[in-house]
């Protein structure tokens, strides 16, 4: 496999052909924030929090392949502020109430909020009217918290390859739904996977909330990204 040499914020990096910037950066111990991207899942370039600058142009690092001699700007004030703005937008666009959410401490949106030192968002809260969809058997979908990353749509499939989750409606009204038939046949493992892969607390596996004590949750001790950064 051919080796590619490139640069992130002045640091010499190596990557493999076909790798995206996000993947190659991780291999080199550099954290580029992601939200819709998930290890092993086909990248979708939806959330734009991974935006980097290459040759003066803004690109989604999760979908752009690395190329020989690429000069990537990542942790620069302009980008960091834009990423923070995206996190703020996601907060005001939904109804996120961390103190009572069972995903607290394991939530990637919350963890990004902490990483970027989010205090009061610069945008007004929209308080959208959304609902808790409890009509399912194994899970609940709290659409108040969905950031529409579509990880569930892409990543959660039955053994015979059927997609359980999909998006209905358009733009501001788009909502995640599950196929009731397929959902009711989900194994416990698959339901747990759906909950774990959802970056926020939108997909809840029934009856298991708050099982992990405070102090033992994913981001209780170290901030998001620190597992990658060297």
């Amino acid at each position: 496999m051919s080796k590619i040499t490139f640069e992130i914020d002045g640091k010499e990096c190596t990557g493999k052909a076909g790798q995206t910037i996000v993947e190659a950066a991780r291999d080199n111990g550099i954290y580029i924030p992601v939200l819709c991207w998930y290890e092993g899942m086909k990248p979708a370039g939806i959330c734009r929090i991974c935006t980097v600058r290459v040759g003066g142009r803004f690109m989604a690092a999760c979908t752009t392949p690395v190329a020989e001699g690429m000069i990537v700007e990542n942790e620069i004030p302009e980008l960091e502020d834009m990423r923070k703005a995206i996190v703020e937008m996601l907060f005001v666009e939904g109804n996120h109430m961390c103190p009572t959410c069972e995903k607290s401490g394991n939530c990637e949106l919350q963890a990004l909020g902490y990483r970027y030192g989010l205090m009061a968002p610069r945008f007004p809260y929209l308080f959208p009217k959304r609902k808790m969809d409890a009509t399912y058997t194994k899970i609940m979908i709290d659409t108040n918290r969905c950031v529409q990353c579509r990880r569930c749509v892409r990543g959660i499939v039955t053994k015979d390859g059927k997609h359980i989750f999909s998006m209905t409606n358009r733009s501001g009204h788009s909502t995640i739904v599950a196929d009731p038939q397929l959902e009711s046949k989900m194994s416990d493992e698959l339901a747990k996977k759906a909950m774990d892969q959802c970056p926020v607390g939108a997909i809840l596996k029934k009856e298991v909330g708050f099982a992990v004590p405070i102090g033992k949750r994913k981001y209780d001790v170290t901030p998001i990204g620190s597992e990658i950064q060297k």
């Binding site: 109430m97 961390c98 103190p99 009572t100 069972e102 607290s104 205090m119 809260y125 308080f127 808790m132 409890a134 009509t135 609940m140 809840l204 029934k206 009856e207 298991v208 909330g209 708050f210 099982a211 992990v212 004590p213 405070i214 102090g215 033992k216």
Partner: protein, 483 residues
């Protein structure tokens, strides 16, 4: 025309209280009322949420007594997930919950004593309010102030070790607990460097009881005659009649000690207890159905608990209890100021219980949760520091909460607090239609004896203005909603 005098705000009570004193045509005090205006619309807010969220969600009701709400909701959810009540949990689940509860009782009773009660004891009720406060205590009685801080810290550390955080933890989950105690955590509490170890805490709790008794012996007149009126008393007691703050059966006695509610299971509390709405108050008035609306009101809290229980199951507190009971010849104690005495005996009991639980191997067990057949309704009761706390929920087929009914301690004490206020207002009234400094003082002292948590007296009535506040993990406000 009848006249109305308003006193507000009641200082040193959390939240907002408003007192109105109603004079009759002859310029005598006819009645006085404590209006509790705080409201958080919780019972509506919780609708539609998954049931397992309730123990965490309900803590937002109140910044003062979140652990009580956390545990009462968890106990109701135990019933819903088929784990039964109280002793249905695994030994580790139940004992960790108890440890959390006694830890919070210890810090809450300590706070009440040193911040709200000790200024009156150390400086006298008539002292200048400028020194009769917690700052005054800190300046003049440094040792006591240090004790207060350390005792609270100890209680809060117990809460942290059991609930995960000092406020708004997640420890209690339906059917049990999400952690047990590690060796390090246990040893820290048992053998921590002075003063932060349980033996020191017990000795300080004992000293606080002694301080009160000393004050009492020198001020019998005030302590024994201030806001004394006959009342019924209600609390949970252990099945064998012992004082138990975490679990038990419901018992009520009248002012003479006759049992008027005889150790009933609280799952159908609504068959025994009604809630009356009065047009002048947002807070309901609970009463014993068997006695009726007029005379069925009752007192909850430390005074009531020591009136209902037969004994205290820890040695030092039991010794104090015997003295305390002897003072009224074994009859129920109806003296409002003796609430402080009772509270301090309970505080000593809480410290002893903490030690007992820390030394119990079960507290370090691995078996944390039990579940059985799910049902759609559950009731959780608890003796919160301020008195009996009722949580009642119903869920639908989809695991969503469809009904919540809460009766908080302060609501239970609504009528006795009003009586106490009326009583003192009458006794200090000079005949002139004016609010004197003495009246202000006495009304405050009477309310403080009940330690009302005005912050969580929340009973929802449909037409109430609705305000919900949200805080982030660090306690910063992130959201306020009004309706």
């Amino acid at each position: 025309m009848a006249r109305k005098i308003t006193i507000e705000p009641v200082t040193r009570v959390e939240g907002h209280g408003k007192v109105t004193i109603h004079l009759d045509d002859n310029n005598n005090v006819a009645q006085s009322r404590l209006h509790i205006v705080e409201f958080r619309g919780f019972e509506r807010f919780v609708q539609g949420r998954p049931y397992w969220e309730a123990p965490v969600l309900v803590q937002r009701l109140c910044g003062i007594c979140p652990v009580s709400h956390h545990l009462a909701a968890a106990k109701a959810m135990d019933v819903i997930v088929g784990a039964g009540t109280g002793d249905g949990l695994t030994p580790t689940g139940e004992k960790m919950r108890r440890l959390m509860h006694y830890g919070q009782t210890f810090q809450s009773h300590t706070l009440h004593f040193f911040h709200l009660c000790s200024p009156d004891l150390l400086f006298g009720v008539d002292a200048d309010p400028a020194i009769r406060n917690v700052i005054g205590v800190a300046l003049e009685h440094k040792d006591l102030a240090v004790q207060a801080v350390m005792m609270r810290k100890f209680g809060q550390e117990i809460i942290r070790a059991t609930a995960g955080k000092k406020i708004h933890g997640t420890g209690a989950i339906p059917g049990g607990i999400n952690k047990s105690l590690s060796d390090e955590e246990r040893d820290e509490f048992l053998k921590g460097a002075d003063p932060l170890n349980i033996d020191k805490m017990i000795s300080w709790a004992q000293a606080a009881v002694d301080l009160f008794k000393d004050f009492h012996s020198k001020n019998k007149d005030m302590i024994d005659n201030f806001a004394v009126f006959p009342s019924n008393h209600l609390s949970l007691v252990r099945k064998d009649g012992a004082l138990d703050l975490y679990h038990g059966v419901l018992r009520a006695v009248d002012s003479e000690g006759k049992k008027i509610l005889n150790d009933v299971d609280y799952q159908d509390y609504y068959n025994h207890i009604g809630e009356e709405v009065k047009n002048w108050s947002y807070m309901k008035f609970p009463y014993l159905k068997s006695i009726g609306k007029k005379d069925g009101w009752y007192t909850v809290g430390p005074l009531a608990r020591l009136n209902t229980c037969d004994f205290i199951p820890t040695p030092l507190a039991q010794k104090e209890f015997e003295q305390y009971k002897a003072y009224t010849n074994g009859k129920p104690n109806n003296m409002s100021m003796h609430m402080h005495w009772a509270r301090l005996i309970e505080n000593l009991h809480a410290a002893e219980m903490i030690k007992e639980l820390l030394n119990d191997k079960d507290i370090q067990g691995k078996n944390l949760v039990t579940k059985g057949k799910k049902v759609n309704e559950g009731v959780g009761l608890l003796e919160a520091p301020r008195g009996t706390l009722f949580h009642h929920y119903k869920i639908n087929e989809q695991d969503q909460i469809v009904m919540a009914n809460l009766i908080v301690s302060t609501t239970n004490n609504n009528e006795p607090m009003n009586r106490a206020v009326t009583h003192v207002a009458k006794s200090v009234f000079t005949g002139k239609p004016e609010i004197t400094e003495g009246m202000m003082n006495s009304v405050e002292v009477a309310i403080r004896a009940y330690d009302p948590c005005l912050s969580c007296a929340t009973h929802a009535l449909g037409e109430m203005p609705l305000e919900v506040s949200m805080f982030d993990a660090r306690g910063d406000i992130i959201d306020v909603k009004r309706k």
